[in-house]
Subunit: 344 residues, 3 copies
């Protein structure tokens, strides 16, 4: 695809400085750009790459206007990172095929399911009895939509998604391949017997309820509630391989990176974030605007917005071994220090 | 569904105090209950919610009998949490459809597979040559059962499960969607070459052998053994996104929460538990009745029952940064303390 | 299968000491071997098991020649672990069926896909428009190959793999069940609105490019790049449930154990390894020959080869609690120590 800077600036807004007839055919990073590449620069840390870049056009904020214009064509936008996001959306819409509404002959649709004529059901998909698919939804190849499940308008279930019985997802959602929504929560009661005891299953009678504009990563799991539902509010974004336990509630516009795990019944606020591999234990509360550093374990409720961290700092193996061995006696060290303080 | 307290107490046992003709139509939490809700109270911590609850009936233990009866109808059971588990099981059996034995026309069954006439094979399932499916087993939509695999009586493979060639699972098991049983263990021998070396694959010739009454979570992986088999004994419960390496042995009635990882050849005892995100390294032994706290890394064998922990305590980011920086010099601190002690 | 020691030594090389006509019918561990079992011994730590083993033949290195020969038949190889790897490969080729080229009638192949007549496409597979499958490739049951994707010669996609649009994998690769290659990277720009803000999707316009001889574990996810591609060089080995973020580059012959997570744009060298559950943060660089201990979090670039570690040492719960509580005041302890040092 080849597009003129004038057409782009018309779509994205902002002020174009340079030849509106000039064209670009690729979005790319600043350091490997050529004359056919449009780039963006939002982080001032990378400003030093600007003068030498061969990019056909650079999207910058007002603060970098002079530096950008000195180099060549520039599109000045209030928020260049957001303009870049919208550019990728526009680009994808132009270059990728739009899913065609309809039902693939290989799909399995159970009697009683209601599918809007504008919806699209992919090859080898499975749609359970009583399921409801709204106009413009796309159900990917080999996806499985359970009994009485609901898929909102223009939501896309990618190939091989499982949406369990009675679970629903709102409008404009994206669920990536391999995600499992609505498996049983992990609930068992200990029962005594002559062999030293066993686990008695607690049937999970709730469902999963997901709002609008939610994105769910590949192979991520969201368990159904035990009695009430597990809830993801509007605008939540989950990366790949995330585990959400039963009866968790995640507030609107909260985003979790890959491999995050949230144990059952945790209640997480709005506009929170968690870095990759963070773990949030069960039955605790986190207020709005809490940001959790990667690989941090949240073991009690957080009542104040802010950034929270707790990872062991890595080191070369020999140094780590010495420090870790000492850490196992840290309490004793404190006692010894206390004794010394009394003495002197 | 609407059911009388008399019918419930007949099924669950225990002593009903209150009107046996009164009905409930929902199981729910104490704090949001109405007159049509039956609740349970097993943790004394929540006892304060009891007087104000509008629940139609509360299941309690003998110790809370007076408090419960003062409020309204109550079912007094020796173990109220276990009674609750059995109530959910009974409820699910009444309200959810029972899978109908038979083979869905979309399923793929290879020649040589033996399927009991009472077994149920779901839509778009795949059953390999020589596979054996026992009476009452349910193989879900788009599940894949490999060559010579075996599924025991009344075991349920949910949609999109993979049970690899030669792997078997006993009776009354539940395997949730996306679980992969019998992928290759991770085994490679380093080989020298002119380019600085490469990895030579060690073919994984063992299988996975799973006992009776085992539940396996969504997207959990259990690798086949290298030479011998990977073994899960009876009653093991694994949550979602758990990784079990090759040749691991997990003792009966052990339960692991989400995101736990167990490296190859670890031998874990009976009646153990591990919290979410715990990691157990390879080639070590853990005795019966060991309980591992969430996010703890078990790096050597454990010979004594008990609770074991090892997570970095989280803090606000600024405090964590100061403490983590000091931790990298902890060994030196100890040396300085020792020097001071000698001096004074 | 029953095979003579002479035939085996002819295939594996090395020097056979013992009766070339004697046969074995199983590869097994030293401690449970019988006269029909062939074993290997490469780790001197297990040497004590040698004299009492009933194995029909033992593969050892030159250093253990005398000890092995004193016991019975032995195959002396320069690298016994590598010989064992090659023995398993040969064994698997003899005992397991070879996939038959062809396309299963249940597979879905979109118009425009090109499939070599020698390739094998399994039952219920899905092959997108414009996809290219090379001679000898095996696409497993219910696998999904996207538009314009490419599968190299003799590469095997196991049942239920997703290879996204435009992604490609080279020759002799193995992708295990449930792996998702080419889901969207996790990229969003924060956008302001009257409700306190939301996330605007950054479309992921890159793909995933995978070299030759790569193995990818079950339920592992490799995201497509934002603008450029995510790249795995030749010979990379990834275990199960690994997460690779967008625009990561992994150097040749690097191997990651289960549950490893790599955040976006990290660049990892050649011949590196990471133990289970390790996390590598984004936008950092790791040189060749870096070895990361299990459960370690790599939070900044590593410029020097070596072993790096950073896990909290586990302990019985009571000791851990005391040490963890003290750790939250470690910085203050240092200040107190400093004050004492000044005083004395």
């Amino acid at each position: 695809m080849r597009v003129s800077l004038g057409a782009l600036s018309k779509h994205l807004g902002g002020e174009l400085v340079g030849d509106a007839q000039a064209t670009v055919s690729r979005i790319g990073p600043l350091e490997s750009a050529d004359a056919q590449t449009i780039c963006f620069l939002s982080n001032p840390r990378y400003q030093s790459q600007l003068p030498a870049s061969a990019a056909g056009c650079v999207i910058v904020g007002p603060g970098l206007r002079d530096a950008a214009v000195a180099r060549g064509a520039a599109l000045i936008c209030a928020d260049p990172y957001l303009a870049y996001a919208r550019l990728t959306q526009w680009w994808a819409a132009q270059t990728r095929g739009v899913p065609i509404p309809g039902i693939h002959p290989s799909a399995v649709v159970e009697p009683g399911a209601w599918i809007d004529p504008q919806a699209s059901v992919g090859p080898i998909a499975f749609v359970g009895a009583g399921a409801r698919i709204e106009a413009g939804a796309v159900v990917g190849a080999q996806a499985h939509v359970g009994v009485d499940a609901m898929v909102g308008q223009r939501t896309v279930l990618k190939p091989r998604v499982v949406l369990g019985d009675g679970c629903c997802i709102g409008a404009r959602g994206i669920v990536h391949s391999g995600a499992v929504i609505g498996a049983d929560g992990f609930g068992f009661a200990p029962a005594k017997d002559e062999q030293g005891g066993h686990w008695e299953k607690i049937e999970q009678l709730g469902a999963v309820v997901i709002g609008d504009d939610v994105e769910i990563g590949a192979n991520t799991c969201i368990d159904r509630g035990a009695l009430d539902d597990t809830v993801l509010e509007d605008g939540v974004k989950l990366d790949n391989l995330v585990q959400i336990g039963h009866n968790v509630r995640i507030g609107a516009h909260t985003a979790f990176a890959g491999c995050v795990g949230v144990a059952g019944s945790a209640r997480i606020g709005r506009h929170c974030t968690a870095g990759g591999g963070a773990i949030i234990l069960g039955h605790l509360e986190i207020v709005d605007h809490v940001h959790i550093t990667a690989a941090t374990v949240i073991s009690r409720s957080i009542h104040k917005p802010g950034q929270y961290s707790g990872m062991f700092p890595f080191d070369d193996n020999a140094s780590w071994e010495k420090n870790a061995a000492t850490l196992r006696h840290l309490y004793t060290l404190r006692e010894r220090l206390r004794a010394l303080e009394k003495k002197t």
